[in-house]
């Protein structure tokens, strides 16, 4: 994965830039010591590392604005960072950048149960948003697997999803307002506790823009009352084709579960070892969860089990109690870390039309043979968001490159069947060079024109999302000069 050469002129002014940042922020909010910068050299895409020129940890919107004004005036690129859990390299620094971490912005500013909203600073972790309202039986719906650690700022940047978004939607469907600071330090309020935009949908545009349009410092989020109860059912099948057909039948039948998760044999084993959830041994496992009162759950699961039985499952079992339900989800949500304990892996995130699931799974199996690398599948089957995990050996020369080529082929396949490169993780650097598989030059041009308006000098997280050769004239100022 290529990154742009650091700007020698910026590196030469490092001491000066750091001094200006130190003058604007409290003493402990600027990190410049080499050993400390190492902590910020990568995010959860650990295959790529590069310490930044400096790290700033502002604690208010005003401090963020001060940092951005300085960097804007100095022409220094800024890479925003939430909690650093991006699987796509969204927070990977360049050597000539100031990395802006929002970790100190972690307060709850207002909870409003009558209007069902919460206002938080953007560095607050996803799970702790729910933590702030669960005493009143409310929750924040988007639940990425990294929810214990990931920050709302990163969720907004990547428009993160999660296992339960089949029913509750992804971040953009649960975000009502933000305070955002543009690269030139301008602070803008977008939205609030009211619904929808009166003019252009700025909120929708900012959500998922991968930290390239501005730095979000506060967010108003929709909170929901917890359902009376929830219960998962486990369904095991002989083949992934049959499991895929079952998913499609459930959806067509008019029962909409909150989640339909899929795991193949490899992942079932790995997650079972990790969580002792009692997963059945089989080729393909579905975890289907419904919500409501006990009677409502019985009703819905009755319909779902009837559909499943028509597909001759090898196992069909409801969670007996809350403890078992928790273990079933703990296993699923730990899938990435559990496999990470036994192997190096690369996690993909393409989405496909649900109808193409059997074909795509078969092709991935064939490609796995061709490339000689193992692959496990765990994904959100209800919405077609796949997560193939390709296993490789980081210590074996050439293995990472083979793995990346295999991954690229899988993502091309996703686009070929009518899907996309990334369903919830974002493009970052990981899928940057595949953007032209999904988009024509005019499509990418239309996106880059948005960044031209928000960040004309292309200083915010500039080396992400768009292929380097495509963004090069803008990043180097050639279009502006012309």
């Amino acid at each position: 994965m290529e990154m742009p050469q650091p700007d020698a002129a910026i590196l030469a002014r490092r001491a000066d830039v750091v001094a200006k940042l130190q003058a604007a922020l409290p003493p402990d909010a600027v990190i410049e010591a080499e050993a400390e910068l190492k902590a910020y050299e990568c995010d959860a895409l650990t295959a790529y590392t590069c310490p930044p020129m400096a790290v700033v940890l502002p604690a208010s919107t005003e401090e963020v604005a001060a940092v951005l004004r300085i960097c804007h005036a100095e022409g220094v690129p800024v890479v925003p960072r939430g909690s650093g859990t991006s699987l796509a390299g969204g927070a990977l620094p360049t050597a000539d950048c100031v990395l802006l971490g929002v970790a100190r912005l972690n307060a709850v500013l207002e909870t409003d149960y009558a209007n069902r909203t919460i206002r938080v600073q953007s560095g607050r972790t996803n799970l702790s948003v729910t933590g702030a309202v669960q005493e009143e039986d409310f929750f924040y719906a988007p639940d990425p697997s990294s929810q214990l650690a990931c920050a709302i700022a990163g969720n907004i940047a990547m428009n993160s999803g999660g296992a339960h978004c089949l029913k509750y939607g992804v971040t953009t469907n649960n975000l009502l307002g933000v305070t955002i600071v543009l690269m030139d330090g301008t602070v803008i309020e977008i939205g609030g506790a009211h619904l929808d935009a009166g003019t252009y949908d700025w909120l929708g545009l900012v959500c998922g823009s991968e930290g390239q349009l501005g730095v979000v410092t506060e967010a108003t989020l929709r909170i929901l009352r917890k359902p009376e109860g929830a219960r998962p059912v486990l369904m095991g099948f002989d083949s992934s084709e049959v499991a895929g057909a079952c998913v499609s039948d459930i959806i067509k039948a008019g029962v909409l579960p909150v989640a339909i998760e899929f795991m193949d044999r490899m992942l079932i084993g790995v997650c079972e070892d990790f969580a002792q959830a009692g997963y059945p041994e089989c080729e393909a496992l579905l975890i289907v969860e419904v919500e409501g009162s006990d009677a409502e759950i019985d009703l819905q699961l009755g319909l779902i089990k009837k559909i499943a039985e028509a597909h001759q499952p090898v196992a069909l079992r409801e969670a007996a109690d809350g403890d078992e339900a928790a273990r079933i989800w703990a296993g699923r949500k730990a899938a990435f870390s559990a496999i990470g304990k036994i192997n190096d892996y690369m996690c993909l995130d393409g989405t496909i039309p649900v109808s193409s699931l059997p074909y795509v799974l078969r092709r991935i199996g064939e490609m796995s043979e061709e490339y000689g690398l193992g692959v496990g599948n765990v994904f959100h089957a209800g919405d077609g968001n796949m997560h193939p995990l390709i296993l490789y050996d980081a210590n074996k020369p050439g293995d990472l490159e083979t793995c990346e080529a295999f991954g690229a082929d899988i993502l091309k396949l996703c686009v070929e069947v009518g899907g996309c490169l990334t369903g919830e993780h974002g493009v970052g650097i990981e899928k940057r060079d595949l953007m032209n598989v999904q988009f024509a030059p005019a499509d990418m041009e239309a996106q880059m024109r948005v960044k031209d308006v928000f960040d004309p000098a292309w200083l915010l997280n500039p080396a992400k999302v768009f292929p380097l050769d495509v963004s090069e004239p803008r990043r180097t100022g050639k279009t502006r000069a012309a």
């Binding site: 009558a114 209007n115 069902r116 909203t117 428009n159 939607g169 953009t172 469907n173 543009l182 803008i188 977008i190 609030g192 506790a193 009211h194 619904l195 929808d196 935009a197 009166g198 003019t199 252009y200 949908d201 700025w202 929708g204 545009l205 959500c207 998922g208 009352r225 959806i251 039948a253 008019g254 909409l256 009677a295 409502e296 819905q300 989405t351 496909i352 039309p353 649900v354 109808s355 959100h380 919405d383 077609g384 968001n385 899907g419 996309c420 990334t422 369903g423 919830e424 953007m435 999904q438 988009f439 024509a440 005019a442 499509d443 990418m444 239309a446 996106q447 024109r449 031209d452 999302v465």
Partner: protein, 374 residues
């Protein structure tokens, strides 16, 4: 009038336009036609792809909304956001199109539970002001590949590009529904009841206050047994607000929500009609500040429809309150004087102008509709 029959013809028409274009779908909104030659997308019509098992549908922009709804209903599915029909207020004769619906981000009562039009929109194709065809999103439910221009196009009223194709995620229609009615409540008390209902675990999919009738109404949808159970439980939650009637007749219940959706109760009498979006508990406060005009509250109190004397600027009622107001029905003179859309703060207005210059450098797409600049 320009009437392209394909996306390619649309692109050629825009590229070859000698001056401003007034873009129209079904022409049902009545927001006034911008200056310029009329361009109708009605010729781009038809459902292109529908996969019930994947909950997705793709249609050309000029396809009538009714046609899409009929195709979905045949498979027991629906557009989740319950788009309103502006003809009740505008008196127009045309047929609403899916392109127009997206361009105006049109939603209805179910918006509070299932999201707005923009939340169900998963892909668009459009022609920008230079005649370039652009796509964003696609036909899958989860997609974060590149910027979300899909959201940007929803509600941009044809000022950044002319939609040629739109894709939605859809939902199964529900088996049963019920409307809970609380009689004799003021908007203040009614909105408090709606907040209590929306804060319950029973997934209220409609929450309105019919101000003329002093009624708060709440909708429950689901399986037959589920709706019965939830009606009882929700009535218990609302006990402190008074006695709750449960309307289980499907046709009467549907009528109530169609009238809320289209603001039917305000249509007959003359006067300007505004649509305001505020924080739900601010709804009654803003209404009182406006002098308690004939009104209807939807979205738990957060969406206020008001009818006021010709030429009244209701934005004054939003002083100190976050939100926005749109002038939905007015005489041409009032519309020319007050504008249709809520003025933006300077920083956002500058970004909006920047976007229009990028997407429509000649300034020919619905010029002046969303801004003072021509």
């Amino acid at each position: 009038m320009l009437a392209p029959a394909s996306e390619t013809e649309l692109a050629e028409a825009v590229a070859g336009a000698a001056g401003p274009l007034a873009v129209r779908g079904g022409g049902t909104r009545g927001f006034g036609a911008p200056a310029g030659e009329a361009l109708s997308v009605a010729g781009l019509s038809g459902v292109e792809l529908y996969e019930p098992g994947a909950l997705t549908i793709v249609a050309r922009a000029g396809t009538p909304v009714a046609e899409v709804e009929a195709v979905l209903a045949a498979e027991g599915q629906r557009l989740p956001f319950e788009p309103m029909d502006h003809r009740t207020l505008s008196g127009a004769n045309g047929a609403p199109t899916v392109g127009g619906m997206v361009a105006a981000n049109v939603s209805g009562p179910r918006r509070i539970q299932a999201g707005a039009c923009r939340d169900s929109l998963i892909g668009v194709r459009f022609v920008d002001g230079s005649g370039t065809i652009v796509k964003s999103g696609g036909r899958v439910m989860k997609n974060v590949t590149g910027y979300d221009l899909v959201k940007l196009m929803a509600g941009s009223f044809g000022t950044l590009g002319i939609l040629s194709e739109v894709a939605f995620k859809v939902l199964p229609a529900t088996e049963a529904s019920a409307t809970l009615v609380l009689d004799g409540v003021t908007p203040e008390r009614g909105v408090a009841a709606l907040s209590a209902a929306l804060g319950s675990p029973f997934e209220v999919s409609g929450a309105a206050h019919l101000t003329a009738d002093q009624q708060a109404v709440m909708r429950l949808e689901g399986f037959e047994d589920q709706v019965g159970y939830r009606s009882e439980r929700l009535a218990a939650v609302l006990a402190s607000f008074g006695e709750v009637r449960v309307e289980r007749d499907a046709a009467r219940s549907a009528r109530i929500w169609a009238d809320v959706r289209d603001a039917t109760g305000l249509a007959a009498e003359p006067g300007d009609i505004w649509r305001l979006s505020v924080r739900p508990t601010d709804g009654p406060v803003v209404w009182a500040a406006l002098g308690r005009p004939p009104a209807l509250f939807d979205w738990g109190g957060g969406l206020i429809w008001v009818r006021v004397a010709d030429g009244t600027d209701v934005r004054a009622g939003l002083a100190g309150v976050a939100g926005h107001a749109t002038l939905v029905r007015a005489t041409p003179a009032t519309r020319a004087r007050l504008g249709t859309f809520h003025p933006e703060p300077p920083a956002l207005a500058a970004l909006a102008q920047g976007l229009r210059r990028q997407y429509d450098p000649r300034g020919i797409l619905n010029a002046g509709l969303m801004s003072a600049e021509a």
